[in-house]
C-alpha cells in the first residue's frame, strides 16, 4: 500500500515566457540584482541605467537580455556574456603562447585582416576586431604597466560629458570607443587584457540587463547580494544539499523552521510544486516569510500548503487551541457590519489555527528542516518526536559550533541514526580557455548542515540513553 500523496491538479508549471503578474529577477551588467513585479503600466528604475516600462519585456523568454533605449523603451539583444572573468588578474599569466593557444582553438586568427576588414560596428564586432589585431609585438606582458588611473587618458569629467552628449543606447559604446582611442597603453596590451578591459568597461557603461526566472536560487542570490544576514548567509550549494539530504519532493509533509525570510520555504515549494504540506514554526506572532511576496507562488497555494504555528502553539497544542463560539445565522444578522467582519476574521483564525494544530499533532513528518538562530541542542530535543521513521532531520546553521553540540547530543540519542555534519563550498573558476584558474576571491561563509535520520530503537535490550525514550515507547505502542 503506497502512501504517496500526489495532487496532479495542483501542479504549477514553470513559465518560459515573461508575463504580466510575474516577479522576475533583473541582472545588471555589474552583477547587480533587482526583483521586479511585472505589472501593466509598471516601470522600474535601474539607477544610472535609467527607467523603463516593464511592458517592454513581456512575451520574451526568460533569460533574454535587453538594452535600455531612450523614452523608457527597451529592445531585446543577444547576450554577450561568455563566463566568469576574474577582476583581479595576476601579471604572471603568460601571453607568449596566447597566439599558439588561440590558433589551436577554434578561434581563427587572421593576422592580415587588420587592414582589410571594414570598421567594426557592434560591440561584438569590436571585440572580434580587437582579437584580430596583430599582437606579435606584445610577446609577453613585459611592456605593460598596470592598468591604472594613470594610463587611462579619459577623465571622469570627460566621461560625464560624453554621457550627456551621447544619446541613450549609444552612450555605452561611445564611451568605449573613446576609451579605446584614448587609453595610452591600449595597443601595448595583450589580446587578453584588451578583452578584459573591454569587458569591464562594457559592464560599467552598457545599459544592458537580463531578465531571469525568479526561482529559489535566484531569490537566494538576490538576498545574498542585498543582505546576506536575512538568509542566514546560506549559500546556493548548501541549499541544494539541504534539499537533497532532506529528500524533498512532490507530495511530502514537512515540519519547518525558517529564518531565511522564507527563501527556504520558497525552495521547498518549488520542489513540491503544488503538492504536499508544510507546517511552519516561528517564534513571533507571525512567521517572517517576506521573500514569498517576491516569489511566483499564488497566495491560494501558499494558504493551502502552509500551516503556520508559533512555538507555544506547537509545543502546548491543547491549551493553545482557539475556542470559538459560532453564532447562529440569526445572531449573525443582528451584528453590525464591522462586527461581522471581525467575527469572520476570528472564525477563520480559529479554523486555521486549530487545523494547523491538528496537523502538527499528527506528527510523523516526512522531514524536519530547520534553519534558525535558536540554540539547536535544546530545540532539537523537543522536535525529534514529531519526525517519522527513517525520515531525515536537516539543520542549517551559519556557524559550525552549535551543530557540533547538537551532533554530540545526537550521538547519544537512540532515536537518531547517522548524524553527519556537512560543509559544501562551490569554488568558482575563471573560464577563459587557456587561462583557467580559480577566481582569486570568492564569497566566504555559506553555512553548515547537520543531517540525521529519525529511527525507532527496539523497546528492550538496549541501554536507554535517549532522553525521550519513555515517551517514545508509549508513542510506539
Amino acid at each position: 500500500m503506497s502512501e504517496i500523496k500526489q495532487d496532479q491538479d495542483q501542479f504549477i508549471v514553470k513559465p518560459t515566457l515573461i508575463q504580466y503578474g510575474h516577479h522576475v529577477l533583473i541582472k545588471l551588467p555589474s552583477s547587480g540584482l533587482k526583483v521586479a513585479h511585472v505589472t501593466e503600466g509598471g516601470s522600474i528604475n535601474l539607477g544610472k541605467f535609467g527607467t523603463f516600462d516593464l511592458s517592454g519585456i513581456v512575451g520574451f523568454p526568460f533569460g533574454q537580455t535587453f538594452e535600455v533605449l531612450d523614452e523608457r523603451k527597451v529592445r531585446a539583444v543577444k547576450s554577450t556574456t561568455y563566463g566568469n572573468v576574474d577582476t583581479l588578474e595576476p601579471e604572471d599569466i603568460p601571453t607568449a603562447d596566447a597566439n599558439a593557444d588561440a590558433a589551436a582553438s577554434d578561434v581563427v586568427m587572421d593576422e592580415t585582416s587588420k587592414e582589410n576588414t571594414p570598421e567594426p560596428k557592434t560591440l561584438g564586432e569590436k571585440i572580434d576586431y580587437l582579437k584580430r589585431l596583430d599582437v606579435k609585438s606584445s610577446e609577453t606582458n613585459r611592456d605593460l604597466l598596470d592598468i591604472g588611473a594613470g594610463s587611462q587618458a579619459l577623465t571622469m569629467e570627460e566621461i560625464e560629458t560624453l554621457k550627456k552628449t551621447s544619446k541613450g543606447a549609444n552612450i555605452g559604446e561611445a564611451i568605449i570607443d573613446k576609451l579605446i582611442k584614448s587609453h595610452a597603453n591600449f595597443n601595448k596590451k595583450t589580446i587578453h587584457s584588451q578583452e578584459k578591459y573591454l569587458k569591464r568597461k562594457q559592464q560599467k557603461f552598457l545599459r544592458r540587463f537580463t531578465v531571469e526566472y525568479l526561482g529559489s536560487s535566484q531569490l537566494l542570490q538576490y538576498y545574498l547580494e542585498k543582505e546576506a544576514s536575512k538568509v542566514l548567509d546560506m549559500s546556493e550549494e548548501t541549499l541544494g544539499l539541504l534539499l537533497s539530504l532532506g529528500n524533498i519532493q512532490s507530495g511530502g509533509r514537512y515540519l519547518v523552521i525558517d529564518e531565511t525570510s522564507g527563501v527556504l520555504i520558497a525552495a521547498l515549494l518549488e520542489r513540491m510544486r503544488g503538492s504536499g504540506e508544510i507546517v511552519l514554526l516561528h517564534e513571533n506572532e507571525h512567521p517572517n516569510i517576506s521573500a514569498l511576496d517576491h516569489s511566483n507562488f499564488p497566495i491560494e497555494i501558499r494558504q493551502k500548503m502552509i500551516d503556520s504555528l508559533n512555538l507555544l502553539q506547537f509545543f502546548e497544542p491543547e491549551s493553545e487551541r482557539v475556542e470559538f463560539q459560532e453564532y447562529s445565522t440569526e445572531e449573525l444578522k443582528e451584528l453590525k457590519s464591522n462586527k461581522r467582519t471581525h467575527y469572520h476574521r476570528r472564525k477563520q483564525n480559529a479554523i486555521d489555527t486549530n487545523k494547523a494544530i491538528d496537523n502538527a499533532i499528527k506528527g510523523d513528518f516526512d522531514a524536519l528542516i530547520v534553519a534558525t538562530t535558536l540554540y539547536t541542542p535544546t530545540l532539537m530535543k523537543r522536535l525529534i518526536e514529531s519526525v517519522g521513521g527513517s525520515r531525515p532531520i536537516i539543520i542549517y546553521s551559519q556557524f559550525k559550533e552549535p551543530l557540533i553540540e547538537t551532533q554530540l547530543d545526537f550521538m547519544n540519542d537512540l532515536r537518531i541514526l547517522t548524524p553527519a555534519l556537512h560543509e559544501s563550498k562551490a569554488r568558482p573558476y575563471q573560464t577563459i580557455p587557456g587561462r583557467l584558474h580559480p577566481m582569486m576571491t570568492m564569497r566566504g561563509g555559506g553555512g553548515y548542515l547537520l543531517s540525521a535520520l529519525r529511527v525507532y530503537p527496539v523497546e528492550e535490550g538496549v541501554t536507554a540513553v535517549g532522553r525521550g525514550l519513555k515517551k517514545k515507547q508509549k508513542f510506539e505502542k
Binding site: 514553470k14 520574451f60 566568469n84 529559489s216 541544494g240 537512540l414
Partner: protein, 361 residues
C-alpha cells in the same frame, strides 16, 4: 514505489535498506522466505514485515541490532560500493539546484554510470517531469535498466554512444525530448555538445552541466560550448567536507602546576622518609652497616622499600595512566570538531552554461 514517495510500514516485496553500519548499508527485497545474514546476526525477513521504516530490530539470537530504512536516492548512493564514477550528493545536489531542476523538469543525463544520480534526478522531476538517460557500456546499460524496473523508477534509458549518435529517440514522441536541463558525465563532452540542439527545448532557457575530472577536459568543453552558442559559462568545483563532533579534555595549566607540586611533594616526602629510615637503620653502604650479613642487608632493603614508600596520589586531574572515556563527566571537556583522516578532495570539475530561448516576437 519505495524510492520515490513515502511509506510507513514494511510489506512483502518492499525494498529495504538494512543499515548494518555506516559503511554497510545493504539493500534487500522483502521475501518472507528469506533471511538476512550480517555480522550482527541473522534477521529473517518475516520479522521485518509490519514494522515501521526506521525500526531497529534484534537478531534471532537477540544480541545484534540493525535498522530498517526506507530507500532514498541519497541513502542508495551511500549503499553503493565506493567507485570513482559515482556522482556523490554534494555534487549532484548542487547541479540539481543550480540548473533549477524540479518537479516537471525534462532532463538528459549521459552516461548513466552507476545510476545513482539518475535516482536522485528521477525523484526530483517526479511526477510531472521526465528523465532521459544514456549509457554506452552494454553491461552497465542492462544493469541500470533492470535496477530502474526493480526500483519502480520512471526513466527513459537508452543504450547509445551519444558522442557519435546523438540524443534523438525516434520512438519517443517523434524524437522531441524538449529537454530543459542536460548533464554530461562523459570522457569527451565536447563530442556530444554538437548533438544537443535537436533535443533541447528551443522555447526556454536551457542549462547544461559537464562533469569532468581533469582540467584539460574543461578547457575543451568551454571551447565547444562557446562555439555552439552557449553563454554564461561558469565552472566550479564543489568542495564537500564532513566534520565530526568530538570532545577534547580541557586541561588547565593551574591543574598541571598543582600536579607538579603534588609530584614534588611526594618526592620530598620519599626523600624525607628515606632520610629518617637511614637515621634509624643506617643504609646498606654506610660504615655502620658494613659488617652486616647479607640476610640482614636484604631485610633492611625490604624494610626500606616498605617504610619509605609514598602512597599513590589521589590528585590526577587529567587521568594520567588511566583509560579515560571521551566525555567522562569526572573531567572537563571542550567540544571540538575534526574532519576525516582522508578527505575526499576532488571529484570533478562542473562546467555550467546556458542557452537562451529564441525570442518569437
Amino acid at each position: 514505489m519505495p524510492f520515490i514517495g513515502y511509506k510507513t510500514l514494511i510489506e512483502e516485496g518492499d525494498i529495504v535498506l538494512a543499515f548494518i553500519g555506516r559503511d554497510a548499508i545493504k539493500p534487500i527485497r522483502i521475501n518472507s522466505e528469506e533471511t538476512l545474514n550480517t555480522r550482527y546476526g541473522v534477521f529473517p525477513h518475516k520479522s521485518m514485515i509490519g514494522k515501521r521504516y526506521g525500526s531497529q530490530i534484534t537478531s534471532m539470537k537477540g544480541y545484534g541490532f540493525i535498522h530498517l530504512l526506507q530507500p532514498t536516492p541519497e541513502l542508495w548512493t551511500l549503499s553503493l560500493p565506493h567507485r570513482t564514477q559515482i556522482v556523490y550528493t554534494p555534487d549532484s545536489s548542487y547541479i540539481t539546484q543550480r540548473l533549477g531542476i524540479t518537479n516537471g523538469s525534462r532532463v538528459i543525463e549521459a552516461g548513466t554510470g552507476s545510476a545513482s544520480f539518475s535516482h536522485s534526478l528521477a525523484r526530483t522531476v517526479h511526477p510531472h517531469g521526465q528523465l532521459f538517460t544514456y549509457e554506452f557500456h552494454e553491461s552497465r546499460f542492462l544493469e541500470a535498466k533492470k535496477e530502474f524496473e526493480e526500483h519502480d523508477i520512471d526513466v527513459v534509458i537508452n543504450h547509445r554512444d551519444v558522442c557519435k549518435n546523438g540524443f534523438e529517440i525516434t520512438n519517443y514522441d517523434g524524437g522531441y525530448l524538449n529537454a530543459d536541463s542536460i548533464f554530461l558525465d562523459l570522457p569527451a563532452p565536447w563530442e556530444a555538445i554538437p548533438h544537443l540542439p535537436k533535443v533541447i527545448n528551443k522555447n526556454e532557457k536551457v542549462g547544461i552541466c559537464c562533469f569532468s575530472p581533469c582540467i584539460e577536459q574543461v578547457d575543451k568543453t568551454v571551447k565547444a560550448l562557446i562555439e555552439h552558442g552557449w553563454t554564461s559559462i561558469e565552472m566550479v568545483e564543489i568542495q564537500g567536507r564532513r566534520w565530526e563532533a568530538r570532545q577534547s579534555m580541557k586541561r588547565d595549566v593551574d591543574d598541571a602546576i598543582l600536579r607538579l607540586k603534588d609530584v614534588k611533594r611526594r618526592k620530598l616526602e620519599g626523600i624525607e622518609r628515606k632520610r629518617k629510615f637511614y637515621a634509624d637503620n643506617g643504609d646498606n653502604n654506610s660504615k655502620e652497616t658494613e659488617n652486616d650479613s647479607n640476610d640482614v642487608r636484604e631485610k633492611r632493603k625490604l624494610d626500606e622499600k616498605e617504610q619509605t614508600k609514598v602512597e599513590k596520589t589521589e590528585f590526577n586531574p587529567f587521568g594520567r595512566g588511566m583509560r579515560v572515556l571521551e566525555g567522562d563527566p569526572k573531567y572537563n571537556w571542550l567540544k571540538v570538531s575534526k574532519n576525516e583522516a582522508e578527505l575526499k578532495s576532488h571529484t570533478s570539475y562542473l562546467t555550467f552554461a546556458f542557452k537562451e530561448a529564441v525570442a518569437n516576437l
